[in-house]
Symmetry: C2
């Protein structure tokens, strides 16, 4: 039975006695057991200079877990540990695209800030995760069998794909989309392969022309519609879990690609440190993407039944289903 047929049947049923819950209400009602703590070891804190009114601007970043993008994630940990970003800036903000930070003088070899020792040079094959052996075109079943071997999947690969209730098995960019330990991923039968996707607030590694893959020193956060065409072309290393608006509401740069023509327009970075160095940082948790509450949240997001809605969509794209993250009580 298609999703649309299901919707027609639902519309013919009598109205429920109590209004259906919104996705936000489902999240608010989720039991504590459905939330998963985010390890402080996976958090970075970027403090931007205060705004014109003197208000502090703190951006909290969660790093992507093993086994995805770990070469770049390791570099980012090294860069934070050596305080490399302290005193640098957000030097590029392009509307409906990205805000980018790092060394605004990096293009000029005479002015560029030296990188710390020990950064890995990661090959572009690492943009995706692949099983051992030569590339091939796998069946859907073979793809699933491989995905299920990845440690930590807990059989959740299908929670929100074709075997789940909420998401139509349609994505223009991949054969499957799903969540893994709280992260949106995509997979292709070609390879087969799986990769983290670019959604709003995702953080990726800027680079020059291939085969350069970037070190992780220059990072961007997505501040517009998900640029999924960047998937498998640049490394996603994490996401902003708090403070994205301090990046998304910055003035756009006037030069090509949103670079600020005037260096004075850049937003100074006071520091980017690991959470361990920030004693006042709260703890964070995400709604486990393997939990019953997340399944209900996904279903309600794809099929809004609360009174405000007239026509549930009957589907949702992976980037529109934002994984709830909050401060831990």
């Amino acid at each position: 039975m298609s999703i649309f047929a299901f919707l027609a049947a639902a519309a013919a049923s009598p109205a429920p006695a109590t209004p259906a819950l919104s996705p936000g209400e489902i999240v608010a009602a989720a039991p504590v057991s459905d939330w998963t703590p985010i390890s402080a070891e996976d958090l970075l804190v970027m403090d931007l200079a205060p705004d014109a009114a003197g208000k502090a601007r703190r951006v909290v970043i969660q790093l992507l877990p093993d086994p995805f993008s770990q070469g770049w994630v390791g570099n980012v940990r090294t860069l934070a540990a050596t305080h490399w970003w302290d005193g640098l800036s957000v030097y590029r903000v392009q509307d409906n695209w990205v805000a980018q930070w790092g060394d605004g003088e990096g293009e000029d070899r005479l002015k560029a800030k030296p990188l710390p020792a020990g950064l890995a040079r990661v090959p572009q094959e690492r943009y995706v995760l692949r099983p051992e052996g030569p590339e091939r075109s796998a069946t859907h079943e073979e793809l699933d069998t491989w995905l299920a071997t990845i440690e930590g999947t807990h059989g959740a690969w299908h929670a929100l794909t074709d075997k789940g209730a909420a998401i139509k098995d349609t994505d223009p960019y991949a054969d499957e989309t799903f969540f893994y330990r709280g992260w949106p991923l995509a997979a292709s039968r070609k390879g087969p392969s799986a990769w983290p996707v670019h959604c709003y607030a995702s953080i990726g590694v800027a680079r020059d022309e291939p085969p350069d893959t970037g070190t992780g020193a220059e990072l961007y956060a997505v501040i517009g519609h998900a640029p999924r065409q960047l998937d498998r072309n640049l490394a996603v290393i994490g996401r902003v879990i708090e403070g994205i608006s301090y990046l998304s509401s910055l003035p756009r740069g006037a030069a090509p690609m949103g670079v600020y023509s005037d260096p004075a327009a850049r937003t100074p970075i006071l520091s980017v440190h690991s959470a361990a160095e920030v004693p006042d940082l709260p703890a964070y948790e995400y709604l486990s993407t393997e939990s019953p509450s997340f399944r209900r949240y996904a279903d309600a997001s794809a099929n809004h039944r609360e009174p405000f809605y007239v026509q549930p969509a009957g589907g949702i794209d992976i980037c529109n289903l934002k994984v709830p993250v909050r401060r831990r009580e």
Copy 2:
């Protein structure tokens, strides 16, 4: 042959002698004949108060063409003609969601600004376009036959759907997505029906609970990932074609739904007038979505082959394929 099979074949071919063009390069090279003027009658100009540095902030709005959302579009024309928005404000900015403007005191009947006479009350059935007769579940062929009867389609409905080369026939929210006279639309076999979609910079009509459909006095512009769940639930009436960053970079409101707690934080609207009342306004044009250049642009956007890309996506979603709009020389 699937898109992914096609990509595998392409990868095995020798590299082309000259680098493939990027989508932007294709647009820049498009002949004048592939561009379509936007009638000044379909443009509104919203001048916000200058920013803190005294810089003017002009937002140019294009209204949706017949036969979509015309009840609300007519109201918006009346509101602009009577200068209703002049002196009001942008009073709500919610991150990755919308910037909303109109009467910030509208919730308070004693303070609300009276609406002009002659506004239509549009029924919610008008969120979509439907053929005459009872609702039914059409076949794909029947859907296409109906769409082809709509004046001005010029047989272009399929340019970018399953019969086109660029876009995989996959959309989580609809049975088909396509472009109509420069606008992104979606359609369902259920009904059958067709509707304008919510993409970045789309403008919609805020409303209260159903069956209210809004007058058009309170408008929002999308400033984040496309909220396609709003399709068929609120009326899309146009889009911002210039100046969206003056809305997307505004500070986010701290109260629920991004409303500014302090009315002083609102951004004043100096005026919203029809283009006919703005003598210094340039002319605008869009890359005809029925043109050969647009087809090439769409293909290159779905399959980036320029040197920066390692792995073309093999597909694209309707909101990621932005219709190029520029000032007319």
